[in-house]
């Protein structure tokens, strides 16, 4: 399979596309787990898009002013409130975790078990930090600002439902990712992939795809919900 005519090309030409799709062979020359993760992420893209598009729709159609996220998510450290500061820190935490994950994938392919494991644990820890900060943000909004899914004192009632739905679903993804990464990291540590997969660390890249996707979704949430 790895030596037929189509694998010799770069895979970037339309001819290679037609060959990959039209011939009686495996269409995607990647491990099946990776192809399936990509297809799962594609379906997840549609789920998050539905949330963000419905948010756009309710924000366009409400006659009541939308609460200003810059003020709602401002935080004071003793002095004047700094706009959106908590969200900015959360964004940096998630990007840092994306970087450690990318390095973990790289060291996984170098069969550097120790570095792979620790970088994955670091990624999971940063993810857990993100979820912790989100819990703080939710608590502040619910307890201090009185935001509810059906209304809030600052403006359009739909603000709460869009906020809890979108960030809640994203936070759920981060939490699932933390568990996923921890399991894979523990298996890297215990030598599971050496014993059962012949030293194949493909799973690290697959877990990495999921993690980067979670970061990717946050990029869109940050832009459309918090900055817009």
């Amino acid at each position: 399979m790895a030596h037929d005519a189509t694998t010799a090309d770069s895979g970037k030409s339309l001819k290679s596309l037609v060959n990959d799709w039209a011939q009686d062979k495996q269409s995607f020359e990647v491990p099946w787990g990776k192809a399936m993760m990509w297809i799962f992420l594609l379906s997840d893209t549609f789920i998050f898009s539905c949330f963000l598009i419905s948010y756009m729709k309710v924000r366009i159609s409400t006659t009541v002013p939308w609460p200003n996220p810059s003020e709602v998510f401002a935080l004071s450290f003793g002095g004047d409130p700094i706009p959106l500061i908590l969200i900015a820190i959360m964004t940096f935490v998630l990007i840092t975790s994306s970087g450690t994950m990318a390095l973990a994938v790289n060291y996984g392919y170098r069969k550097d078990k120790n570095k792979t494991m620790w970088l994955m644990f670091a990624t999971a820890a940063l993810g857990a930090t993100f979820v912790g900060m989100q819990a703080f943000e939710w608590t502040k909004l619910i307890v201090e600002e009185g935001v509810r899914p059906w209304g809030n004192p600052m403006g359009a009632a739909q603000f709460g439902s869009a906020f809890f739905m979108i960030t809640g679903f994203h936070g759920l993804h981060v939490s699932a990712g933390v568990i996923y990464l921890t399991i894979v990291a523990l298996r890297v540590k215990s030598g599971y992939y050496d014993r059962h997969k012949g030293g194949n660390y493909e799973i690290v890249e697959i877990a990495g795809l999921y993690w980067h996707f979670v970061d990717l979704v946050w990029v869109f949430i940050f832009a459309f919900f918090y900055l817009w």
Partner: protein, 119 residues
């Protein structure tokens, strides 16, 4: 450090690529935050938000998720279907405007009544 063939499904690239993209993502995130911090408004705000958003998303997908090194068969299978979301976005924006108009017409207290010429 050598790049191995993607035909084996392995994605091995120099560490420096990841470190540069990591740094770039930090810088772009800082820029997006500055859009809000400096309270830029209007078209400038929206275009900058979208610009930084698409740049960040592009680098994450292309480099961190290795899409740039995948074969066209996989790239098209994953990246083309989301384009139909553009139709969805268009329809919902249209529908949202219509809903807003009907709400203004039906539910607001100050219904538009042409003023009679009494002055």
């Amino acid at each position: 450090m050598a790049e191995t063939a993607t035909a084996e499904g392995h994605q091995q690239h120099p560490l420096s690529i990841y470190l540069w993209i990591w740094l770039l993502l930090f810088v772009l995130s800082a820029f997006s935050y500055m859009v809000d911090y400096l309270q830029l408004q209007g078209m400038l705000r929206w275009s900058l938000i979208l610009l930084f958003m698409f740049l960040k998303a592009g680098f994450i997908v292309a480099i961190f998720m290795h899409m740039a090194w995948e074969r066209l068969a996989l790239i098209y299978a994953i990246l083309l279907p989301p384009l139909c979301l553009l139709v969805f976005i268009g329809l919902m924006a249209w529908e949202g405007d219509y809903t807003l108009l009907t709400r203004i017409a039906s539910f607001t207290e100050h219904v538009f009544i042409p003023a009679a010429g009494h002055h």
